[in-house]
């Protein structure tokens, strides 16, 4: 039997499909652009000089490889499984987002594009894009929901310092999905000089596959580093990551998809709880298949197919969809998807600060909250690797507010 036939790593197909998910649901104006991008990416993928440039920047600009850290006190406190944290929060700009941005900006340069646009929710992808654009002297415009501009003010200022233009989006309800709509509207208007740098494994083909490939450095490093800690051939028993669109999760998961003994868990934002009130962002656990932003995937939507706003304490998880590859992994059962509420994430946030001296972002705090649920019941030789995909500096204002701590500015 052909090994490839049994592989979970061959997708997407030539139409950009992962099973029934993914695809290219864009207007005709954009279709030639995404075909160009696909052709360029296919060329770059097998070009050693492209990856040499990436490796150099990853190493000297981003600070890769990020450590794989044995969280001893966390492990002890939970009293079960052995917990490792993949420290992508130590990357330049404080999250995994830059792994992908570097790849896309190098592609944009190859394609001769001079104007970069991006959407952002928490502002982490916007900051990463503004950063790399500054590094290469490219014009950068970031679309950000007006609501997020308010709740993520420090990142707005960072982007402006880095020379980017931040456009507050008031269309729709002014959150991440609306920012993505406006970025797409910009792209159909400025088709010649503009490159759309998408921040997660969503959008039309080839974005979900391309962003996954750029983020896969997380899983590849994890695989090698765990062997350094635990001996040759040792794989993690469980890998866990938080999911907004799903890019940090795909980055960790992808290199392990064919290791059938590795348990894969994605953690969605449960907001105030996954129930009929829909005050959450758990597309897989609380949504159904639909088409938005260029791909078919699980979406939060009403009976009429109108898209609903998500709700989460974490702006970075506040997206009503999820990358199509996750939708597929969910349907075929290769990965398991769970949800964590705001309250649980806040508890995990504080626990991590106290146990490990690491202030996590609210996004990976969701993953950690699930680790806290399952680790106590697992044996001590069970290894969990959790993606610590971002640091919490951007979130201290939000957390202070929820904890009733007054951070009113002193002068």
């Amino acid at each position: 039997m052909n090994d490839l036939f049994n592989s979970f790593m061959t997708g997407p197909d030539e139409n950009g499909r992962f099973g029934d998910f993914g695809g290219r649901f864009v207007s005709e104006t954009l279709m030639p652009l995404i075909l160009d991008l696909e052709a360029e990416y296919e060329k770059a993928k097998t070009d050693d000089s492209f990856w040499a440039e990436m490796d150099d920047l990853w190493k000297h600009y981003v600070g890769r490889p990020s450590p794989l850290y044995h969280a001893e006190r966390l492990t002890e406190a939970l009293g079960g499984a052995k917990i490792y944290l993949k420290r992508d929060e130590l990357n330049h700009t404080g999250a995994h987002k830059i792994n992908n941005v570097l790849g896309q900006i190098l592609l944009a340069r190859r394609m001769g594009k001079t104007r970069i646009i991006a959407e952002t929710g928490a502002g982490q992808h916007g900051v990463a894009t503004a950063t790399v654009c500054a590094r290469f002297g490219l014009k950068c415009i970031v679309y950000m929901g007006a609501h997020d501009v308010e709740r993520q003010a420090p990142n707005v200022f960072r982007m402006r310092l880095l020379g980017a233009e931040v456009v507050p989006v008031t269309s729709g309800r002014g959150t991440l999905k609306d920012a993505m709509n406006d970025a797409l509207r910009d792209w159909v208007t400025n088709v010649r000089d503009t490159f759309y740098c998408i921040g997660t494994v969503a959008g039309p083909h080839p974005y979900p596959a391309m962003v996954r490939d750029f983020q896969s450095i997380i899983g590849k490093e994890t695989r090698e580093q765990l062997q350094e800690h635990e001996g040759e051939g040792r794989l993690p028993d469980t890998i866990i990551a938080a999911i907004g669109g799903g890019s940090n999760a795909m980055g960790l998961f992808f290199p392990f998809l064919d290791d059938k003994d590795v348990n894969i868990i994605g953690v969605e934002a449960g907001g105030k709880g996954v129930d009929m009130k829909m005050e959450h962002c758990a597309s897989l656990t609380g949504g159904r298949p639909g088409v938005l932003h260029g791909n078919r995937t699980y979406l939060l939507q009403d009976d009429d197919g109108q898209i609903l706003e998500g709700f989460s304490i974490s702006a970075g998880l506040d997206y009503p969809g999820i990358g199509p590859e996750h939708a597929w992994l969910h349907e075929i059962g290769r990965a398991q998807y769970v949800s964590i509420t705001d309250k649980e994430a806040l508890e995990a946030f504080q626990f991590c600060c106290q146990q490990e001296g690491i202030i996590p972002a609210l996004e990976p705090s969701h993953a950690l909250a699930h680790v806290m649920k399952i680790a106590p019941d697992l044996p001590k030789d069970h290894i969990i690797v959790m993606n610590m995909c971002g640091r919490g500096d951007k979130d201290i204002f939000t957390v202070a507010k929820h904890l009733g701590f007054d951070m009113a500015e002193s002068d």
Partner: protein, 263 residues
């Protein structure tokens, strides 16, 4: 032969260009928009484009985005949109109706059920913005099989290499998007549009109708002159947004259709 095909034969025989109007179904509410739709044929509209409201209209500018939001806030749905079309059909059995919108509400309804319901409501054609030829198996092919026209957009980025693919499963007419951009933004220029229309006309035998950026009777005439017809959307929707009474909206539509019919 659909109502759309018959309409073009009729226009051709009369030596006239087509005037196509777009409004959002249910904007600002069901009753008002039905009243407007019913008045369109008398205002010189040859083909009615009816917008299907969607929360995330990524090819539309603010004018049509807000129209969709008004409609949704007033309780518009895909079912109600089809009801509106059916109510119009009770008074008019010849003016073609093209439903224009995005795929998700259709997909959510179920493609087969949607096609049956749309056909029963008297819909003649579909323009679904986010279904390029690459996704033809989703709706385009089933729609043609069900006897509905599937009208495709051609754009300034559709080069000659790609054009045959865009034309292949299109029927009724081709909708040429005059500018790269969203609805209601840039202005169409007859000088730029003419050669593009000629290029598309030469590639097949479907009528080529031009839309996006047409907002005055003069523009309507100038564009219709270099094409088989003109579409006006945002300019009409703006009048509705301003709260103009139905007869004034229709009087404005009449000036636009007169423009196209002078061409």
């Amino acid at each position: 032969m659909t109502r759309i095909d018959r309409k073009f034969e009729e226009l051709k025989a009369a030596g006239k260009k087509a005037f196509v109007s777009y409004i959002m179904a249910g904007d600002p509410d069901y009753d008002t928009s039905l009243e407007i739709v019913k008045g369109l044929p008398a205002a010189g509209v040859d083909i009615i484009e009816l917008g299907l409201p969607f929360t995330d209209p990524m090819a539309d500018g603010p004018t049509i985005q807000l129209a969709g939001q008004r409609a949704l806030a007033a309780g518009m749905t895909l079912n109600r949109t089809l009801e509106l079309a059916a109510a119009f059909r009770e008074t008019d059995d010849t003016t073609p109706i093209v439903l224009m919108g995005y795929y998700n509400p259709v997909y959510s309804h179920g493609v087969d059920k949607f096609l049956a319901d749309a056909k029963a409501a008297g819909i003649d054609g579909l323009i679904i913005v986010d279904l390029p030829p690459e996704e033809d198996s989703e709706l385009c092919i089933p729609a043609q099989a069900a006897g509905l026209n599937f009208i495709r957009l051609a754009t300034p980025t559709t080069d000659n290499k790609r054009l045959p693919k865009v034309m292949e499963n299109t029927s009724g007419f081709i909708y040429y998007v005059s500018v790269t951009g969203i609805t209601g933004a840039a202005e169409a220029e007859a000088g730029d549009v003419g050669p593009e229309v000629a290029r598309i006309q030469a590639a097949g035998d479907l009528p080529v109708i031009v839309g996006f950026g047409i907002n005055t009777p003069e523009k309507s005439e100038a564009i219709a002159k270099v094409a088989d017809g003109a579409v006006v959307g945002s300019a009409i929707v703006s009048k509705i947004a301003e709260g103009q009474p139905v007869d004034q909206v229709l009087a404005f539509v009449k000036t636009l259709s007169d423009g196209a019919h002078r061409a």
